[in-house]
Symmetry: C2
Subunit: 338 residues, 2 copies
């Protein structure tokens, strides 16, 4: 185990490097931090830290920079989560309170997060599978053409066109609409399939095929939309990446364009609490030089989706974590209210 002072040295290195973006040397360290020892001692400590893999030298006779492992230790043991200042909190609340619908909430959230952390923000739409049904609507657009509209408790709306195998009378339509709603409203999406299973049986034989079609489209919508949707923002913050940004930026932009990659990224985050993935801990290669800070949010006590930021491994972890946590909390409140 590393001694107390060595950990202190590591913390100082991380802090300085995050601030200056330059390898930090022993002399500079003792000048800026009150370590109470001389540069030579710090050098010895650094040698140990390097042996253990927490810091590295870009080349001989340069200062040290933290490795992914170093950041990991820093995040786990040395750094707390920095709470936001109260003006910041107020600003968040004001900004989010102005939202008019779900799209707006998500849109504002992503902008807010990007601005607050000065990094790339990723916000996942509230998941359907964990949501409950607020309403199912069936509209007749043409004799054999229906539209299915699905409204969730988080305010999300999904719609699908349905081509019916046979014309479907208005009475039957009203009937189906009523029965469908009485069965599924207030229920979780995951429970819907078994709740509607026997519905076709109670209809006239001529309508059964149509009812089945409608149900299958409904179930399909649930499944398809489990491929969650998300939005990102603040990509211009990628230019803050540092001097080597031209080479790092391309794979990151590419990764950010693939929703699949991002969803996986957020998906990897544990359900409760905040997850920080540092550098190579990210499965996707393009993101090997980035860190991801993600957390779940939800209207109640349970998370319905996740949000987070992507930035250089050299980031202000306490501040970023604080911002992410605070934003998630407020978004949860907003969702609970609406």
């Amino acid at each position: 185990m590393l001694s107390e002072r060595r950990l202190e040295v590591l913390r100082a290195i991380v802090q300085d490097y995050v601030g200056t973006e330059e390898p930090v040397g022993s002399k500079a360290l003792t000048e800026r931090h009150n370590l109470g020892v001389s540069p030579a001692t710090v050098r010895n400590d650094m040698a140990v830290l390097e042996d253990e893999g927490f810091i590295a030298q870009p080349h001989t006779s340069a200062g040290r920079i933290p490795t992914d492992r170093g950041y990991r230790l820093f995040v786990d043991k040395l750094a707390g989560v920095k709470p936001l200042s109260s003006p910041e909190r107020r600003a968040i609340q004001n900004f989010l309170d102005g939202a008019v619908d779900l799209d707006d909430v998500v849109g504002r959230t992503v902008r807010l997060l990007a601005q607050l952390t000065r990094q790339v923000a990723v916000v996942q739409y509230p998941s359907l599978t964990r949501s409950t049904v607020r309403h199912v609507e069936l509209l007749s657009l043409a004799p054999a053409r229906l539209m299915l509209v699905l409204i969730t408790d988080t305010g999300r709306v999904e719609q699908r066109m349905i081509d019916c195998p046979a014309p479907f009378g208005d009475t039957a339509l009203a009937d189906l609409r009523a029965r469908l709603n009485s069965r599924v409203v207030g229920r979780r999406f995951a429970d819907v399939p078994q709740l509607v299973q026997d519905l076709p049986e109670s209809f006239e034989s001529e309508d059964r095929a149509t009812v089945s079609t409608v149900l299958s489209v409904l179930l399909e919508t649930l499944v398809e939309e489990t491929e969650e949707r998300l939005i990102i923002g603040g990509t211009s913050n990628l230019t803050r990446f540092g001097h080597d940004f031209p080479v790092m930026i391309r794979p990151v932009l590419e990764a950010l364009e693939e929703q699949v990659v991002l969803l996986k990224l957020l998906g990897e985050a544990t359900d409760s609490g905040m997850t920080v993935r540092i550098g190579h801990e990210n499965a996707h290669e393009g993101l090997n030089s980035t860190s991801v800070v993600a957390v779940g949010y939800g209207s109640g006590d349970e998370a319905v989706a996740k949000l987070g930021v992507v930035g250089p491994t050299r980031m202000d972890y306490p501040g970023t974590m604080g911002a992410v946590r605070a934003v998630a909390r407020y978004v949860g409140q907003i969702l609970a209210e609406s």
Copy 2:
């Protein structure tokens, strides 16, 4: 007026520069193009073209690069629109045909366009103001709480919550729904306000306030959503910007994040035909080193929205214009079918 050969020289310069991304000199030009004259002659022509402002030298004794004005002349007079190859056309059709709903169409379009042009693609959602109403639905969520769902002919769905001033009976609701639909279905959004103006009068006095509320929310939705929505894709193609990309990329990313800027950008494009804005022709400063190729698309003969790409002024104009036009055409077809 410039002689035929000088125009030919300009065309050659543009083509070479777009290909190599390096200033092109007189010798290289005569070697790669069959101009039928010697480098010395080309040099004289270049001097004239430079006087006229069509090309410029980054510094003495370097080759020439086209100016914005040079590209303008090239686009207007020297270049056609390059049609896509038939495999490309088939690929577009196949890719777009797989779309399941409007979101999917727009999403696929933006990816397709980005991939095809290897530039940043921008696609605007079909505008509400020019669309027609397919259906208006009113749902009762609670005694004094309604949900308004608006479905357009392009498949777009908007929903709003409505808090009623007084409880609203099911009969009145059905009545309002029926009357509303009989008046506005098939009509353009712009015409809706006057079509529903006198609706409250025909209701019982106790319901009038609620009806008015519903109508005002409906009209509000139309107005609010005139702030169009759009999505972008292919930002990783910005890395293709060239050697000076680190300095150019930030303002571009910033501009791309501001929907307002982008909407204005597309809005500036003329309604019919393709619009090309080159470098400083773009009002927004951050986009002074980019060109924008935009075109309207729609389900019928009239454009309901626009799409386009943003790339370096040094782009393959004929190819880009061809791709943009082709994609717009196919998207129009898809929308017309659905």
